[in-house]
């Protein structure tokens, strides 16, 4: 009688963590051998609900440890410590094409993790959970400060780590969807980099004047970051995803003002009219618009727009001239950009030019285009409104959920190490002694 009346105890440690931190979900005092479902529920800012769940069997001591015991069903299977987060999917009955992205990163992502009797797959809203725990996941570590940046016509947000500094700097660029996307910069600031997220496609100045920004916009951002009293001006890196890669490579190679200590390019390409402005590059992509394909579900596939990789040097960033370490992160199932083909071409170009020691390529089979911070739920496709097209389209990003989630975890870890090595302990030519 005593056993069955013991409270089933569900605990999540830590209950408040950073977005890339692992947690341990533990169920105790369950009946040995009983079947339980552990479920995570999150309601995001736009009101959509997401859920993930795993089916477990309690062991002989009546305990389930999600980091050690396998899930035998649900939205993920096997031993997956963080499966409850990365396998999030919209609850049944939701709209299609949703993607989970946090806009206000000064508040945490609130996830409710509960445990239910038996192996449930649906109708959770009508069931009474045996126990529940609220968990907070933060993009900003304690002490990280957010400073909106508007000088020089910029639309940006700077995140400063806690502590006195000075910190190495980072410019953070996203892709064709535009908007000011802050979460990755906030998370990188939580790791010790003064990070500035920049909106360069839907910036205030573009919305007001109708004109796209020019190269000077990025150089202004660089200068603002460099001149900040808590930023170490000689250690600034740039990170870009998708279209942001095009900008990053361009600035790294051709800009007179921007001198990067490292560059990270995720899911992008070096194919672009050399020395073109943002507008010219976008028009170049649009020219090839007829190469757009559609999947059976009528999802847009844009990867062919830049294929085949041209041999004409005026259509590719001359990566042979790159002088800083470059990390390329590639999803081999990227359906939006030809990142794998571009990575191979970049490798070849750099080998010919003799600077291939600067290149590191992380290539993930079955990972898609949106390689985001770890445990972000995978969206194989979602609705997108780019700056060029008026209406929303359903865009195919690619990737298989399990491999894509592993790729996100691995890529992030290696990215942070790469940035730390190059920004915190990199080579400083002026310190060499002369013999």
């Amino acid at each position: 009688m005593q056993l069955s009346l013991r409270l089933k105890c569900l605990s999540v440690q830590p209950s408040r963590g950073l977005m890339d931190e692992k947690f341990i979900v533990l169920v105790q005092n369950a009946l040995p051998g009983s079947q339980l479902t552990i479920r995570a529920l999150h309601q995001c800012e736009d009101g959509h609900s997401w859920e993930a769940f795993g089916h477990y069997t309690a062991d002989t001591t009546g305990t389930i440890n999600v980091s050690e015991d396998p899930s035998i069903g649900g939205t993920y299977s096997g031993v997956e410590q963080m499966g409850l987060l990365w396998s999030f999917r919209p609850i049944p009955g939701s709209k299609s094409g949703l993607r989970m992205r946090k806009k206000n990163i000064q508040t945490p992502m609130e996830v409710t993790i509960s445990v239910y009797q038996g192996h449930q797959t649906e109708g959770f809203a009508d069931l009474v959970p045996l126990s529940g725990v609220a968990v907070e996941r933060w993009y900003m570590a304690p002490g990280v400060r957010r400073i909106p940046v508007t000088e020089g016509g910029l639309t940006a947000a700077l995140f400063l780590p806690s502590g006195p500094g000075p910190f190495p700097g980072l410019l953070d660029l996203w892709g064709g969807g535009g908007q000011l996307v802050e979460y990755r910069a906030a998370l990188l600031a939580s790791h010790g980099f003064a990070s500035m997220a920049i909106d360069y496609l839907t910036a205030k100045i573009t919305m007001e004047t109708g004109k796209m920004v020019d190269n000077q916009y990025f150089e202004t951002a660089y200068r603002v970051l460099q001149q900040h009293p808590q930023v170490c001006g000689s250690k600034i890196a740039m990170i870009g995803l998708s279209f942001g890669t095009s900008i990053t490579l361009k600035m790294a190679v051709y800009s007179e003002v921007i001198k990067l200590s490292a560059a990270v390019c995720i899911s992008g390409s070096h194919v672009q009219p050399v020395d073109g402005s943002v507008e010219e590059i976008l028009r170049f992509f649009q020219k090839n618009g007829e190469k757009t394909r559609f999947s059976e579900k009528n999802e847009v596939i844009w990867r062919d727009l830049l294929l085949p990789i041209p041999t004409d040097p005026s259509l590719k960033v001359n990566v042979g001239r790159l002088q800083c370490p470059l990390l390329l992160v590639v999803g081999e199932d990227d359906q939006n950009w030809p990142s794998q083909e571009s990575a191979l071409d970049i490798k070849e170009m750099m080998a010919r030019a003799g600077n291939s020691h600067l290149l590191t390529v992380l290539s993930y089979p079955n990972a898609g285009h949106l390689i985001e911070p770890p445990y972000t739920p995978h969206a194989r496709s979602s609705t997108l409104k780019t700056v060029e097209i008026e209406e929303k389209v359903m865009c195919l990003w690619g990737g298989q959920t399990v491999e894509h989630s592993r790729a996100q975890e691995d890529a992030w870890k290696k990215m942070v190490v790469f940035l730390k090595e190059n920004l915190y302990g990199g080579r400083n030519p002026t310190s060499f002694s002369h013999l």
Binding site: L5, L7, P14, R16, P142, G143, G425, N428, S431
Partner: protein, 494 residues
């Protein structure tokens, strides 16, 4: 180097052999030096700068935080320093001296402090050893009023063995840590109904939850933090004020609420839809112990378990209806030391308590845990524990009694890792009541299980209680009431 080579090349022919041997030696030396500097260059060009990390970086007050410093030099003296501002704006600090080992790192969970606010291996020393900074106001005690926000503690790694007041050393790395009384999802509900003045904390989730009624001492006011922490650990918890609160009737220095008040509070918990009415316990500290025993025996409710911390089995101040006289009304057992500091210990010696004031412990029907600080100078805890134990034993109920007794622990046994209050100003006039502080601090952690065999159903309560320090303190809790802070008047014998 180049000039030596050229000089050699231009030496006369007959010194050819010597020329080449000298040249050879020079080249060897040159290569060796290049190799060395190349090595040094390679090593120093990739040296990671010092890093201080805390895990978890946002934690509950009773959670251990593991602090590590990495990428330092070998056998290097460093100081780890914690600083925070209290709600009143005072700066509290703690620091400790460590020396790195061959792995060029320090780990506060395993390394030993060789100086500073604490010595030895103390993973949470930086938190419980916090003290007001130099030149702070006197009589400070750290108690959080607003439990919905965290304590923000800045932890820094300084070069060398220094103290933060010296302010000269270089800061190598820093990390900010948040310490919360409320876990995510815990709800705080203000209770002002049925004449009850209190705050209810509910754990996250649907419930139903076991519950605790939380009572503090004669300092009065409404302390919420222990209840918030209980709720973070799965117990619905109601803190009630019974004196010294603006929403309560009567003057602030006596208890004007009677037995009915506590009965209403208990029933409020029982009637709550998310509380399991058969699993409600009561916890009391100091004078709260007397009230706890009264609730268990006199007012017609049946708690499932009782926790008593450092309090008397009865009080001459408590009359039949449960109302009190002021503590200053009877000072014959007060003891003053030569600095004018008062100990109330003898007031609560069982021998000094009239028999009719002692609660009828033998009527208790649920498990009782008594926590004793053996060095309590505010209440005669050991003696009172003995009285309770004896009363239960002679009624054949000794299996209900559990005692936890800590040598060197003081009166205020509070939630873990909280900084010690060295001097605490209290309400009583005209003397100034001060703390005598002990010479060292001990940190203990207990986990105990209470089983209720008599309530309907079975009930397991897991409580984690930690002791923050060895401290002598006033009896009663200090809720500094600005108008009642007493003035310094020399006590007897000074």
């Amino acid at each position: 180097m180049i000039s030596i080579i050229f000089f050699n090349l231009y030496m006369p022919e007959e010194c050819l052999y010597q020329k080449f041997s000298v040249l050879f030696v020079c080249v060897c030396i040159y290569m060796f030096v290049c190799f060395l500097t190349g090595e040094v260059r390679r090593k120093s060009s990739f040296r990671q700068s010092p890093l201080l990390s805390a895990a978890p970086v946002r934690a509950l007050i009773d959670e251990q935080i593991s602090i590590k410093g990495r990428f330092l030099s070998q056998n290097y003296p460093v100081t780890v320093c914690a600083q925070m501002h209290s709600e009143e704006g005072d700066l509290w600090e703690a620091f400790a001296h460590y020396t790195t080992n061959a792995s060029r790192s320090i780990n506060l969970t395993s390394d030993h402090s060789v100086g500073g606010s604490y010595l030895g291996c103390e993973p949470m020393g930086l938190f419980w050893a916090l003290e007001p900074a130099l030149r702070s106001r006197e009589g400070l005690r750290l108690r959080k009023r607003n439990v919905e926000t965290p304590y923000i503690v800045n932890i820094s790694l300084l070069e060398g063995h220094t103290s933060p007041s010296e302010g000269q050393s270089t800061e190598l790395a820093a990390v900010t840590v948040e310490r919360w009384y409320m876990a995510p999802g815990v709800r705080r509900i203000e209770i002002r109904q049925n004449k009850i003045v209190g705050t209810l904390f509910l754990p996250p989730g649907p419930g139903p939850f076991p519950a605790m009624l939380d009572l503090w001492g004669m300092g009065g006011g409404l302390s919420e933090y222990r209840s918030a922490l209980f709720a973070s650990r799965g117990f619905a918890s109601l803190s009630v004020a019974y004196m010294g609160h603006k929403d309560l009737p009567g003057p602030p220095d006596i208890m004007s609420v009677a037995n009915l008040y506590f009965k209403s509070a208990f029933q409020l918990l029982q009637d709550h839809c998310q509380v399991d009415a058969d699993r409600i316990g009561v916890i009391g500290l100091s004078f709260g112990v007397c009230l706890t025993l009264r609730i268990a025996t006199r007012i017609g409710v049946k708690p499932s378990c009782l926790i008593c911390i450092n309090g008397p089995v009865g009080s001459p101040l408590l009359d039949e209806d449960g109302k009190t006289k002021t503590i200053e009304s009877d000072q014959k057992h007060w003891e003053l030391d030569d600095r004018g500091r008062v100990s109330f210990r003898h007031v609560s010696l069982p021998d000094n308590l009239p028999a009719e004031n002692k609660q009828k412990v033998k009527n208790i029907t649920c498990p009782l845990m008594y926590i004793v600080g053996e060095d309590d100078l505010c209440a005669a805890s050991t003696e009172n524990a003995d009285v309770i134990e004896e009363a239960l034993r002679s009624a054949g109920k000794s299996q209900l009694f559990t005692r936890l007794s800590y040598p060197g622990a003081g009166h205020l046994i509070e939630p873990p890792y909280a900084p010690c209050a060295r001097v605490s100003l209290w309400r009583a006039k005209p003397e100034k009541c001060e703390l005598k502080f002990s010479s060292h601090c001990i940190l203990l952690r207990i986990q105990y299980i209470m089983v209720n065999k008599f309530a309907v159903g079975c009930f397991w309560v897991f409580l984690f209680v930690c002791f923050s320090s060895l401290q002598y303190s006033l009896c009663g809790e200090v809720t500094p009431h600005p108008t009642l802070l007493l003035k310094k008047i020399p006590g007897r014998g000074s």
